[in-house]
Symmetry: C2
Subunit: 502 residues, 2 copies
């Protein structure tokens, strides 16, 4: 074994050690959210925090610096994978090393206090309860930007954490186009004056039947139950321990046909990505997704582009009738499809339809930019929030709970994360454009409930690349073009034109 | 804070660190046995083994030696708890330090190979498949005795691992008396020629209904669902992460009314012990059970002494009729009680009735003694096994599977463990004798389904002492006497005399 091979093996062993901690931590988190006895809460939080600290020290240890130095001095002998491995290792290491230990502790404390304060404030629907904690978090976030540095816009430093290389400059263009395009479609829909009835989705659907339908659709998607499972939780999420254990969680509302089903499809999209990460990237640290936005592109692709397509809707309609006969009494295939795609500008992001969803994100993006660049202050948030909702969506919150307090993200300092959701829509539509060229008959198959061609295409074009490319390079590699809003806008226009006849 | 207080705090922190690893390890084990995706198996085994190694190094680290030295030099200032803490810490440390690292690894490897070989052999019902692996384990076990040392009998060294201070000398007397007493009762029953019908227990009992009955009885026992839960597994066990998270597992057979129910009651007995361990012993290492046998006394107390008593049987009968009306059509209270207590000498330990169960254990004890003292060899095991079953129980295995291969215990080197099961019966009956004196009307309450007085007595007399006393001292403290077989034999005689009218 050469010196390089030896070092690579040593590095893989080191990553394995880190992995022991992270998988154990992930399992503990999963357990915490899927039925852990409540008396265990405090002790579990301590153990989780202990493990996080261990992982952090392993990630910033002198051992890592040693690996980086060695690898950099052997770059000439490396293939693309090991070059990328070295770059990513260095980036992550420097990113974590940049912050003093004291700052990390302070931030983590502020974040956990923030979550508590947010929960309290949301329950009381009173922003003032959250304000002091949020001010602290915003201060620390601004401080973190100083540690990290930036070129043009302070907010760039935050964007880069979630989407490598993304800047305000680029995003302003893309989101500007997206916002104008969506508002235009929304106006066209308004002008038609048409309303869609989706009341039949609110009949009674027993939980166990919803669960078995979700499992059936996951199976159809290609979710591998030997490498994953689905459990019940409060707020659905997907947890990947490794590509061999990917856990979906779901939540059931018995008066809602679509909620759990489309949560399952959404999380299933995330899960397929993780299950498809190739084993051969183990030991390089590249066996993760390219970015949060690319991850979200996969979940939203399945949830909306596939899940709410006319073809899949028709398939779903048949399944729904099979499982819930009388609940859909007198409902036609066409009515079912339209109800799935009903557009209603609303206050709550997580309940938004496919068209208006991105506007919720753009509002948050614009507000975060203002806040981070000191143009507004924390105390201005409710006012600014409500104004933007009025302006873009034509609705205005009457309480903080259904306004500025609805999302958890700010409470733990995840500024810069929100754009990922809307970017996911753009990535997805741009991928769709290429996919339908590569596999012309794909929608026919979807109509038959055959999702294998979709999975195969995403697996080969997205999933198997894991973190071999930054997202901007990945989308170029897949589609030959930079990310742009036009594919998503075209897709939306085609879809809603047919539904609303504008 | 005095120097001593400071060191005690430091020690408590150190134990907490170990506890982070053990609770995470326990959760991973629980997950592995309650639905972990199968593709995760290999990786999970590696993580578990990594954590075990970490725990071992923490347990034998120089830091521990330092704590011991400090505490020993301050024994004069210590109360009973901290003296006991120091003694137990030293005992555990020396016990683990005694074996060279290499030996521990070799043993652990042999044990995991042993389990694999045993499973294979059991499936093939062929002892020869297990023989080489078992020979290795027996060799290493004998070697471990040399490391540990002993006074009279080699087997003493193994007994002490599970029951501090127990010796062959003591156990031969107790088990001799127990064996003769049971055989005598068994013969009296045989002479009556009576047979009991329990066929109605083998009607169809849907799993979900069995589960809800098990949950109901656990609730009755005082199992705290805020500090625990019950899940499904292959072989039921109880796992305690801390006194705040104690997990029972169960397995359902739809053609068997008693299996899951009495598993739940048995595991519930273990779980109450763990849930009742006082918080104040945290940070001392004494917040564990006194011994395996005392643990087993609690589970078997609930399973047999309470669970199969006439009073509780009558209560259970009513509940069973409520939940499974037609399955018990025409069955009387009396028939139900007798069926619960039907005596049938049989081949399989885990299916044995309350009377003959201890004979299964005594057979294993006698065989282990012979093996460890070089009187028989591994190759002789099937023959010796079958001979003893014929002699004590009057039944003879026709295959290794229902004979010498039935238990997992030898495959991982747990020699010396089996006696705990029978000792549990003796502890339990001796406790019962005292309990009925302390709380004269207790059986009346049990008949009403009120198990609170039982729980209260066990909590105050057993559970809350945790590991403050060695088992031999604990039983003296509780009952004023050393452990003896007579209480259990009297209890059995009274019970079966009434049932079989001998
Ligand atoms: Zn998502
Ligand atoms: Zn037990």
């Amino acid at each position: 074994m050469s010196e390089v091979e030896k070092k690579l093996k040593e590095f893989a062993e080191y990553l394995k050690k880190i992995n022991h901690y992270t998988t154990a931590g992930n399992l503990m988190y999963w357990d915490m959210t899927t039925g852990m006895p409540e008396a265990m809460a405090e002790s579990r939080a301590e153990t989780l925090s202990f493990f996080q600290t261990e992982v952090h020290s392993l990630n910033v240890s002198p051992k890592i610096a040693e690996f980086i130095e060695f690898f950099e001095s052997h770059m000439g002998e490396f293939d693309y994978i090991h070059k990328r491995m070295t770059e990513q290792l260095k980036k992550k290491y420097e990113n974590q090393k940049r912050y003093p230990e004291e700052f990390i502790k302070e931030f983590s404390l502020a974040a956990s206090r923030g979550e508590v304060a947010w929960e309290k404030a949301k329950n009381a629907s009173d922003f003032d309860v959250f304000k002091p904690a949020l001010e602290k978090i915003v201060d620390l976030t601004k401080k973190s930007i100083e540690y990290k540095g930036y070129e043009d816009n302070k907010y760039d430093a935050l964007l880069d954490d979630y989407e490598a290389g993304l800047t305000v400059n680029k995003l302003d263009k893309v989101f500007g186009e997206l916002r104008d395009g969506i508002v235009e479609i929304l106006n066209k829909i308004k002008v038609t004056g048409k309303t869609i009835d989706d009341s039949f989705f609110h009949n009674h659907f027993p939980k166990s039947e919803q669960e078995s339908l979700s499992l059936k659709i996951l199976d159809l998607m290609g979710f591998d139950f030997k490498r994953g499972r689905m459990d019940e939780t409060e707020h659905p999420y997907t947890l990947d321990m490794t590509n061999k254990d990917v856990r979906i969680t779901n939540h059931y509302y018995e008066n809602d046909f679509t909620s759990a089903l489309f949560s399952a499809i959404h999380e299933g999209g995330h899960a397929l990505y993780e299950q498809d990460i190739p084993d051969l990237l183990e030991g390089t640290g590249l066996n993760v997704a390219s970015s949060m936005a690319v991850h979200e592109s996969q979940s939203r692709f399945y949830e909306n582009i596939i899940g709410k397509s006319r073809e899949f809707s028709n398939y779903l309609y048949k399944e729904a009738i099979k499982q819930f006969n009388e609940q859909f009494d007198g409902v036609s295939e066409e009515e079912f499809y339209k109800a799935l795609n009903k557009v209603t500008p609303s206050l709550i992001r997580t309940e938004a339809d496919e068209l208006t969803y991105s506007l919720h994100i753009i509002i948050r993006y614009e507000i975060e930019k203002l806040l981070i660049n000191d143009i507004i202050e924390v105390k201005d948030l409710p006012k600014v929030w409500n104004k933007k909702y009025k302006e873009y969506l034509g609705v205005e919150p009457t309480s903080d709970k259904e306004g500025v307090l609805q999302d958890v993200h700010w409470s733990d300092g995840s500024f810069g994360y929100f754009p990922s959701y809307a970017l996911g829509n753009l990535y997805g539509a741009q991928m769709l454009h290429k996919m339908t060229k590569d596999v012309p008959g794909i929608y026919e198959e979807i109509g038959k409930g055959n999702l294998q061609p979709v999975h195969k295409w995403l697996k080969e074009n997205v999933h198997e690349y894991a973190n071999l490319y930054d997202p901007s390079n990945l989308i170029k590699k897949i589609t030959g073009e930079e990310l742009q809003a036009k594919y998503f806008l075209q897709y939306l226009d085609n879809k809603y034109k047919a539904i609303y006849n504008y």
